[in-house]
Amino acid sequence: MFKELYNYRQLLKSNIKKDIRGKYKGSFLGVLWSFVNPLLMTLVYAIVFPYILKDTGDNYVTFLVIGILPWTFFTTVISQGTYCILANAGIIKKVYFPREILPISIATSGLINFLISCLIIFIFLIFSGVGFSIQILWLPLIILTQYLFSLALIFITSAVNVYIRDAEYIINFIVSMLFYATPILYKAETFAGSAIEWIIKLNPMATIITCYRDVLFYQSLPHIKSLLVVLLGSIILLWLGYKIFKKLEKGFAEEV
C-alpha cells in the first residue's frame, strides 16, 4: 500500500492543493472562508447561549472557539469525504490511480486547514488572558487522533456512498445530531448522572473535544486513558476501513 502511495505522492500533493485552493477559487475571500464560517458560527452561539445556559463560565467565547474549530474540521472532512468518490467520477472512469488518494487528500487538506485555524485559537487564548501551559504539548497527539479517526470513517462512508446514495444524507444527519451529543456548546459535566452522559461517553468526538479543552482551556492533563483508547480504536477502524474501501473500490468505475 505504502509503496504505491509513495509512487503517486505528487498526485496526493496536487490533489490536496486542489482541495484547499480549488474549493474557493473565484470567491472574493477565497480560502479565508474556511475560517470566517466557524468564526461567524461562534459569534452566533456566543450571543445566544448565555441566555439559554445557566452557567457558561468565564471566557465563554474562547471556550466555544476551542470546541467549534475542531468540530468544523471533523464535519468538513466527513461531508466532503463521503462525497469524494462520486465527486471525482470523471477521473475514476478514465484513469487508474490508487483510489485511496481521494479520501486521504480530503482528510489531509482538512488537517492543514485546521492547523492554520489553530492560530485563531491561539489568538483567542492570548487576548482572553487564558494563555498557554506546558499541557499544549499534548495537542499534536490529540490532532493526530482526530485525523486518523475521521480518515477511518471516510474510507468507509466514501466507498459505501457509491453503492447506496442515501449514505450521504444519513451521515449528514447523524453528524448534525452528534453536534449536540458532543460537549461543544456546554461542558461535559453538564449531563453528569443523566442518560445522555452515556452517549457522550461513547462518542469518540466528545473525548477528543474534551481533550482539546483540557489542554488548551483548563490547562490540565487530558484524560490520557480515554485518549489512548480512542487512538487505538481509530487505528483499528482505519485498518478495517481500508480493507472495506479496497474491497468496494473494484466496482467504483462501473457504479459511479
Binding site: 496536487s14 475514476i92 447506496i164 466496482g251
Partner: protein, 255 residues
Amino acid sequence: MKTAKSKKKKQKQESYAIEVKNLTKYFKLYYDKPNTLKERLVFWNKSKVEKKVVLKNINLKIKKGETVALIGVNGSGKSTLLKMMSKIIYPNEGKIEINGKLTSLLELGAGFHPDFTGRENIYFNASIFGLTAAEIDARVLDIINFSELGELIDTPVRTYSSGMYMRLAFSVAINVDAEILLIDEILAVGDQHFQDKCFAKLRELKDSGKTIVIVSHSLGYVQKLCDRAVWIYNGEVKMDGKTEKVIEEYLKVCG
C-alpha cells in the same frame, strides 16, 4: 537445476508485456437500478438483473515492443478490454498480468480543472499518471513545445478552444514515458498538422521499443502503425495476426 528452470520461466514471463488469461467480463443490466436505500429495501427481490457478457474467455499475449491494434465494430468489447488492462475496471473471471509501467490514454484531459492554467493542469494531469514533481519539471518544456500553445500555457484552460484543449491533453499523455501505452481512439486530435505530429510521435515511441495497444476505427493509421491486429467480435477474439490480413478479413465482413 531447479533455479535454472525457474529463471527460464521468469524470463519467459517477462518477455510479455501484457498477458490476458481466460478473461470473462459481464455487466449487470438493471431494469430499475436500486440506487437509494428505500428502493433497495422495497424492491430487494424485484429488480430484474440481466447479465450481459461483454467479453468471453479472452486469451491474449502481447510481447514487449509489439504494436497491436484492437479492431471491431462498436460494442464488441474493445474498450472494455482496454479499461481492464489499465485497472479501471476488473474482470469477473480470469486475470490480466502486466509487466512494466503502464499509461492509458482512454480519454484525454482527465482531471483538467478549467480554472487552473495550462501549466498547472500539466502538473495535475501528469501526476495522475504517477509522475513526481521532478519528473514533470524535466518534461514540462517538451510538453509545452509539443502542444504548440506558446504563451497561452499560462492562461486558464477554460479559455482554450476544444482543439487546444485536446492538444494539451495529448501532449501530456504522450510525454509520460511509460513502457506500455494503451490508446483508445484518440488519434483524431486537432488539425491535420497536429495529427501528423501525433502519428510521428507514436512511430517514434514504437521504434524506441515501447509496447503500444491501440483501439481505433481509423484503419489507415492502424495499418501504417501496427504489426499485429486483433479482431474482436461479439466479445471473442475472431482473428489474430498480421495487420493487413486481419483488416482484409474484417472489411469483408463489416465493410
